[in-house]
């Protein structure tokens, strides 16, 4: 600890060899005491395995959602008041439309860069939810959710639900024909809940469908309440990640007591900032070349109209598929109706799925009686039961997702809707049941081969003078980029090659 510098000269002296930056840091440290913690933070080690990047995709697509979303709020009008459309899109000219639809058209056709922002926003949302799901699968299959990280698993799962919910709300805002149909379905799903359904629906939508409250309410939920919750939980997620440090795969000197990889500064910062740009770039390219949600083709919402082949955004597909294939069993007795044909596939099924996911760390601790702290990850094949269960659930969800396109499938393959529906009903049940033992068996087989997935070296076959053939494996690629050295603590400074000074962005110090 240095004494607080009191005059200019003393300050300059205290700044040492680090000039202006050092001086600023000293000033900061005088007031906040950041030097030690800051250094520790810059030394934080990030494992180099590619699968740790999946969560970054989610984080960065959320950043893109915030940026593009703020742009959109400047122009979107969350109202269902009727206006006459007069805009550059001539086929709709003179039509009675809502303010919401009108302003979305305005964003798409009149606001400079508006269409790009809208499409980027929609693509980023699809990527966001997708990245969360894949990241969650990585965490699940490698056992990263185990003690001490159960809380972060819970936060992550909540983030998935919030992301899906906010995606649905945002999808509904343009008030176009397709999204309006989605809201109608959401209303009916709420109505289906026993005892409170009709009250709940009236409460959320402010009256009987469609009402005028839907779009304004969805708007404020979509742009304020849920984003705040997501932002808060993302911060908590990252805080816990820093506090508990990363998990890592075993091998090469990696133990339960250390973390091996690249330091936060400058290596990880460079890679991850680059990655932010890549995710942003890909989203912008998708926004430029892959049309998404062309509301001018759907037209404004009209409760009495509908379009063919209406599919929701992908993350809602499994619910829609479940609704399609569930049989028409309604419960009507004791003077009451329980629309089981809706309540079970749309409320009970996701309820069970998410609750099992929430409880999974607890259940696994119970069944394996493993209450230890774990920082080293599992190879999925070493935990065949968990892996098989995860695979079965993924297969179930994929089948439900495919079932949400029965009409398109029937049309495409020229088979009857009846056979498609029955095929999906059977596949949804049978395939997960088959998937479990198949995945289990594959895991068991893979346990025998340690080198699975590693880069192979070739064997040199030579013949001895006696005529005997001998296969000699060549040594592993010592010079290979992928080859790892023994890990070493992060040095205070990292010097680049002498011939290209200043190049890596790290200051070289003249001693």
């Amino acid at each position: 600890m240095s004494d607080v510098a009191t005059n200019k000269r003393a300050q300059r002296q205290a700044a040492g060899p680090y000039g202006k930056i050092g001086q600023t840091l000293n000033e900061l440290d005088d007031r906040l005491g950041v030097a030690k913690g800051g250094r520790t933070f810059m030394d934080k080690i990030f494992p180099d395995h590619w699968s740790f990047m999946l969560g970054e995709i989610a984080l960065y697509s959320f950043v893109i959602l915030l940026v593009t979303g703020i742009f959109l709020t400047f122009y979107f009008v969350p109202s269902v008041a009727t206006v006459i459309y007069h805009g550059p899109y001539k086929p709709m000219d003179g039509q009675r439309v809502t303010e919401a639809w009108n302003s979305t058209m305005n964003i798409s056709f009149t606001v400079r860069g508006g269409l790009l922002m809208r499409q980027m926003h929609h693509w980023a949302c699809d990527i966001f939810v997708g990245a969360i799901v894949v990241h969650m699968a990585r965490v699940f299959f490698t056992g990263a959710f185990r003690k001490p990280r159960e809380l972060n698993w819970t936060i992550g799962l909540t983030l998935l639900i919030l992301a899906i919910g906010n995606g649905f709300l945002g999808y509904s805002l343009p008030d176009d024909l397709v999204s309006g149909t989605g809201i109608r379905i959401a209303y009916s799903i709420m109505e289906s809940i026993p005892f409170v359904g009709s009250y709940l629906a009236f409460w959320v939508f402010g009256g009987n469908f469609p009402g005028t409250a839907t779009i304004p309410r969805f708007f404020i939920l979509h742009v304020l309440l849920l984003p705040l919750l997501i932002l808060g939980l993302v911060s908590a997620h990252l805080f816990l990640l820093v506090r508990q440090k990363h998990t890592q795969f075993p091998g090469n000197g990696r133990t339960e007591k250390n973390v091996v990889g690249s330091p936060m500064y400058p290596v990880f910062i460079a890679k991850t900032t680059g990655f932010l740009f890549i995710v942003g770039g890909i989203t912008a390219l998708l926004g430029a070349f892959a049309q998404i949600n062309p509301i001018w083709q759907f037209g404004p919402y009209d409760a009495a109209r509908i379009s063919y082949a209406v599919q929701p955004d992908w993350y809602m597909g499994f619910l829609d598929g479940a609704l399609r294939i569930w049989p028409s069993w309604s419960f009507m007795a004791f003077g009451h109706t329980i629309p089981l044909e809706v309540f079970i596939p749309a409320v009970i099924l996701p309820g069970i799925l998410f609750n099992v996911a929430y409880l999974w760390p607890l259940l696994e601790r119970k069944f394996t009686k493993d209450n230890e702290i774990h920082h080293l990850l599992d190879r999925p094949s070493d935990r065949p039961k968990r892996t098989a269960a995860g695979v079965a659930v993924l297969v179930l969800l994929s089948m439900l997702h495919i079932a949400s396109s029965t009409d398109v499938i029937a049309n495409f393959f020229h088979v009857s809707l009846e056979s498609t529906l029955w095929a999906m009903r059977i596949l949804v049940i049978v395939l997960p049941i088959i998937a479990y033992p198949v995945a289990f068996k594959i895991c068991k087989e893979m346990q025998g081969y340690r080198g699975v997935g590693k880069r192979k070296t070739h064997n040199i076959v030579s013949r001895t003078a006696e005529g005997e053939y001998v296969a000699t494996p060549t040594p592993s690629y010592g010079e290979d980029v992928g080859h790892e050295l023994e890990a070493t603590p992060v040095p205070t400074y990292i010097e680049v090659e002498p011939e290209v000074p200043f190049e890596s962005g790290v200051r070289t110090v003249d001693r």
Partner: protein, 318 residues
């Protein structure tokens, strides 16, 4: 005071300059550097082009292409810089046990249980009063949220705007006359006056189909409901309330495009296929002396998807 010396990195470093950990991962750093420089130059050109495209208000795809290309190139260059030119490592940090010593834990628990709990125990009356009061406030605070956001459903789910004598009009408000539809034709109708309202669109929507030129009975007890072959069903699917918008003329089926429920138009719109649990309610019609299609009464049951109270109030079989 030797502050300056104290901050010299050597003491903490522990690695010599030629330590392999500090070497770049790439075997040809010069080549990699040139490639990265190229991505940065191209990226700069792209983002400059983005600015130009924006300035001249070029087509939307040019904006996305230039912005996306620029960001992507910068990103690739930066990742490559981090991956191939920065010290290859790997580096290690120790992981410390987060759990504190037993003594620390005990002190923490004691602070909560004994210090805080003791205060409560000594003033049980105050704690009870405060807890009870805040508990009631917590419940009461929910009232405005629960009650103000939506009206109570009351009877609104059980009735439509169809009344005795309502004229069936199309979306433009034109009354439907008996001569308007040929056999096999279909039109969406509303009770006159409701065709422009949200509720009319959402709740009253009805499909009017002419399936014959004789009076048509779709079910026992509905002998008078289909005059001159005109039959009318609620357009709200009994599954999830989508408009049953597709009419299979050959098979006389109404199909819901959302989840493919199919209803037999000739037989009381009983579901033939799909997840819908109930027939579409049928609207009883008559033709007045001027030949206009009108309704005999409202639907005899709630239209649209099922809900908890649906069965009780109507007392109907279905």
């Amino acid at each position: 005071m030797s502050d300056v010396e104290h901050r010299t990195p050597v003491a903490l470093s522990g690695l010599s300059e030629d330590d392999p950990h500090l070497q770049p991962a790439s075997k040809n750093p010069q080549t990699v550097e040139r490639v990265i420089a190229l991505t940065f130059v191209l990226g700069t050109l792209f983002v400059a082009a983005f600015g130009a495209c924006y300035w001249i208000n070029a087509k939307p795809w040019t904006l996305g292409a230039t912005l996306g290309g620029g960001l992507f190139l910068f990103g690739v260059g930066l990742v490559a810089w981090g991956k191939y030119l920065m010290p290859r490592g790997p580096f290690v940090e120790e992981r410390h046990v987060l759990a504190n010593s037993d003594a620390d834990r005990e002190a923490f628990a004691a602070a909560i249980v004994e210090r805080g709990g003791g205060v409560v125990k000594r003033r049980k009356l105050l704690a009870g009063l405060l807890g009870g009061g805040l508990g009631i406030f917590g419940v009461v605070a929910l009232f405005p949220a629960l009650r103000s956001l939506g009206p109570l459903p009351k009877g609104t789910l059980f009735h439509t705007d169809w009344k005795k004598g309502s004229y069936a009009v199309d979306q433009t408000g034109r009354r439907i006359n008996v001569g308007d539809l040929s056999i096999g034709s279909i039109v969406t109708v509303f009770p006159e006056g409701a065709q422009d309202t949200d509720r009319g669109q959402a709740v009253d929507q009805t499909v009017l189909i002419r399936i014959s030129n004789q009076n048509y009975t779709t079910q026992k007890g509905r002998e008078t409901w289909g005059p001159m072959g005109y039959v009318a069903y609620s357009k709200l699917c009994t599954h999830l309330g989508c408009p049953v918008g597709l009419y299979e003329q050959q098979l006389q089926l109404l199909v819901c495009p959302c989840h493919q429920s199919m209803f037999d138009v000739t037989n009381g719109a009983i579901p033939q296929f799909g997840p819908a649990p109930r027939p579409l309610p049928q609207l009883p019609l008559y033709i007045d002396s001027s030949g206009f299609i009108r309704s005999q009464a409202d639907y005899d049951q709630p239209v649209g998807p099922g809900f908890w109270e649906r069965h009780r109030v109507t007392g109907s079989k279905v």
